[in-house]
């Protein structure tokens, strides 16, 4: 188990390393105009060169990369160059992370609870009313672009339920809609997969044996079906994190939540390299951590996942 975990951890770190390297290089491919912001027209070529040189952008790319890693290992994320010049990136993020964290964790918890409950409900009433309603919901979420129902929620539901249209930190009611919006996508996928795995398990032979043994349907559901269906669900944890991140980027600006989501779009547009790199580092760490946790959970619950490489017992 430990060996497997360490191996997976090593793989995760390598993946993270590759992702940030790629992002770092991509940022260097963008046109240089971005670095000067509004004042671009007023600067002459010599001034521009000086600025770029001071930013370290005229050094060979491997020197820049080396410097970036060196700083990163020391815990130094660099300073913002355009967004808020010369302010350390860490400081900018410190103010924003809590909001994104609360909303992110809230949305993941909410979608996990709602999605799995809905999935169980659908599996139990397969082909009947609740299953149809649930399927309708899943199809809707997957077919309609997220922005449409986000806007719909903000414009109409706020009106109907008399909820505030924008986020205000000390008004707990204003947290509801952003949270719900963020969790809609992953709720749908949790429900769909939970239903699917439950139905799969219910059709397996061992359920028949369990019934022949004299176990009640309720016991079979709890002790056999639910647990077995839950194991493959672990692999959807990272996906749900990604969905929530993607949702947060849009939703945070929609409800003017001062979180990280809006910041990423801003930073990319204005070519604030250190800020983008830091944000990408955070987001990709989160998704890779999700993958890692998902795999570890699977290995804990499913004894068939071989932890070491000594061939199967088949």
């Amino acid at each position: 188990m430990l060996k497997y975990s360490l191996k997976r951890l090593g793989q995760s770190v390598i993946t993270l390393f590759i992702v940030i390297t790629i992002v770092f290089l991509l940022m260097r491919l963008m046109p240089e105009e971005g670095y000067f912001g509004q004042g671009y027209e007023k600067l002459d070529p010599i001034q521009r060169e000086t600025i770029l040189k001071n930013l370290g952008l005229r050094d060979p790319i491997y020197v820049q990369l080396g410097r970036f890693y060196r700083d990163l290992i020391r815990g130094n994320l660099g300073v913002s160059i355009v967004y808020r010049p010369r302010v350390p990136v860490a400081e900018i993020l410190k103010a924003k992370i809590p909001y994104s964290l609360y909303f992110g964790l809230g949305a993941i918890t909410l979608s996990l609870l709602a999605g799995i409950s809905l999935g169980i409900l659908m599996a139990r009433s397969k082909g009947k009313f609740w299953d149809r309603i649930g399927t309708g919901y899943v199809v809707f979420i997957n077919a309609v672009p997220a922005a449409v129902y986000y806007l719909f929620l903000q414009l109409y539901v706020t009106n109907i339920l008399k909820l505030p249209i924008l986020f205000k930190e000390n008004n707990p009611v204003s947290w509801i809609l952003p949270l719900v919006s963020m969790s809609l996508g992953s709720t749908a996928s949790y429900a769909m997969w939970m239903r699917r795995y439950m139905v799969d398990e219910l059709n397996k032979d061992y359920i028949l044996l369990a019934r022949a043994k004299g176990l009640s349907n309720k016991t079979i559901m709890v002790r056999h079906v639910f647990r077995n269906a839950f194991v493959p669900m672990a692999q959807y944890l990272p996906m749900s994190i990604l969905l929530v991140i993607a949702g947060s980027i849009y939703i945070e600006s929609l409800y003017s939540i001062p979180g990280m989501g809006g910041l990423l779009v801003d930073a990319i547009q204005r070519q604030d390299n250190p800020l983008v790199q830091a944000l990408v580092l955070i987001y990709s760490s989160l998704s890779i951590a999700g993958l890692f946790i998902g795999d570890i959970l699977m290995a804990i619950f499913d004894p068939r996942i071989k932890l070491e490489n000594h061939g199967g017992a088949r």
């Binding site: 061992y206 043994k213 004299g214 176990l215 002790r223 194991v231 017992a313």
Partner: protein
């Protein structure tokens, strides 16, 4: 009459059946059509015996016995007839609560494919323990000890280690032993073995059959074997029921059915055994296909495939005719008014063998 069969007769003649199915009709609803899978089949099961039900795929063997445990698929139901067991009519059982009195505790089942019959995410110890706790009312260490004893009984060595292992750590034959252990752990009176050896290779088959025989003695089980493997039948069965198109067309002691078959379907079935083939001639096979169960069947269901069918076979369904107190068959050939029909060569040879054995004694 033959001496061995007389012994058999005495064994059965004064006994009351522990389970008695009478005129059972089972229907299924399939895409809006109704299919009659079991057509007024009757069966008596006696304490301590091994009864084999043979028949080709789709003849309704599994469906028939599954109805004794309420394990029919959701779209199937017992339409009429009675299944008497301990004063209950199982045919009338509807709710889960009623069935929980029977399942496991009274009747348990061993399934065909041991590779999929076990929950892959639970240790086999836990899976057997579940049955022990539920039906023997034991808890804690006592229950665990019982599990270990059962594991030993089904021939699993090193039970202490095996207890904590998962199904994927077992081979096919070993898994079937575990499935058998689970059904034994319920301490049932009747054990239904639904093709217990079909999914296993031949050497393992013999072991499993021997195991079931041993367990039958030790736990005083009444066993119903469902199979289409006549080799298995010959090894284990006291009595044989031959099933065709949802009905038991012939039933008798193992010897009677093997050496003195009466129903043309039994003739055809035995004639297709390679052991009875005549050297140099192509092996016999039954022409045609079983009837479509969506349609109502008139007369004898086997008549269209039977080259020796009488005219009445197409008109009227034959009742049971008794050959001996333990042997009866549903065929008009046994009616006193029926013309004399010669059975196939292979069957004649079987009867001769039976006769000579008899005279040799």
């Amino acid at each position: 009459m033959h001496s061995i069969s007389r012994e058999m007769e005495e064994k059965y003649i004064n006994q009351h059946p522990i389970l008695s199915a009478k005129d059972v009709v089972i229907k299924f609803n399939l895409r809006g059509h109704t299919l009659t899978a079991i057509r007024e089949a009757s069966l008596d099961l006696y304490e301590g015996e091994s009864l084999a039900i043979v028949g080709e795929s789709g003849s309704g063997k599994s469906v028939f016995v599954k109805s004794f445990m309420g394990l029919l698929d959701k779209n199937g139901w017992v339409d009429s007839g009675t299944i008497n067991y301990k004063g209950y009519d199982l045919g009338k059982f509807k709710t889960e609560k009623e069935w929980l009195r029977i399942r496991g505790k009274e009747i348990a089942m061993v399934f065909q494919d041991p590779m999929t019959a076990l929950n892959p995410l639970k240790t086999i110890g836990k899976q057997i323990l579940e049955a022990v706790e539920l039906h023997q009312g034991l808890r804690g260490q006592e229950a665990k000890n019982t599990v270990l004893e059962i594991l030993r009984d089904v021939g699993i060595s090193n039970p202490m280690v095996r207890y904590n292992q998962y199904p994927h750590e077992f081979s096919g034959g070993m898994r079937q032993r575990v499935v058998i252990a689970i059904s034994i752990a319920c301490s049932p009176r009747i054990l239904i073995c639904d093709e217990p050896t079909t999914a296993l290779d031949v050497t393992i088959q013999a072991q499993i059959i021997q195991l079931l025989k041993n367990l039958q003695k030790k736990y005083k089980l009444t066993i119903i074997y469902i199979t289409h493997d006549l080799g298995v039948v010959a090894k284990v069965a006291d009595r044989i029921g031959v099933m065709y198109a949802g009905d038991i067309v012939e039933i008798g002691t193992s010897e009677e059915v093997f050496y003195n078959p009466q129903h043309p379907y039994t003739w055809a079935l035995l004639s297709s055994l390679p052991q009875l083939g005549i050297k140099g001639e192509p092996l016999y096979s039954i022409k045609g296909t079983p009837p479509n169960l969506f349609n109502e069947i008139r007369g004898d269901a086997f008549a269209p495939r039977n080259p020796r069918a009488l005219k009445i076979d197409f008109e009227l369904r034959p009742p049971y005719f008794s050959v001996s107190p333990t042997h009866r068959a549903k065929t008009w050939l046994l009616d006193p008014r029926a013309p004399k029909v010669e059975p196939p060569e292979a069957i004649k040879k079987l009867r001769e063998q039976w006769g000579s054995e008899c005279c040799g004694k």
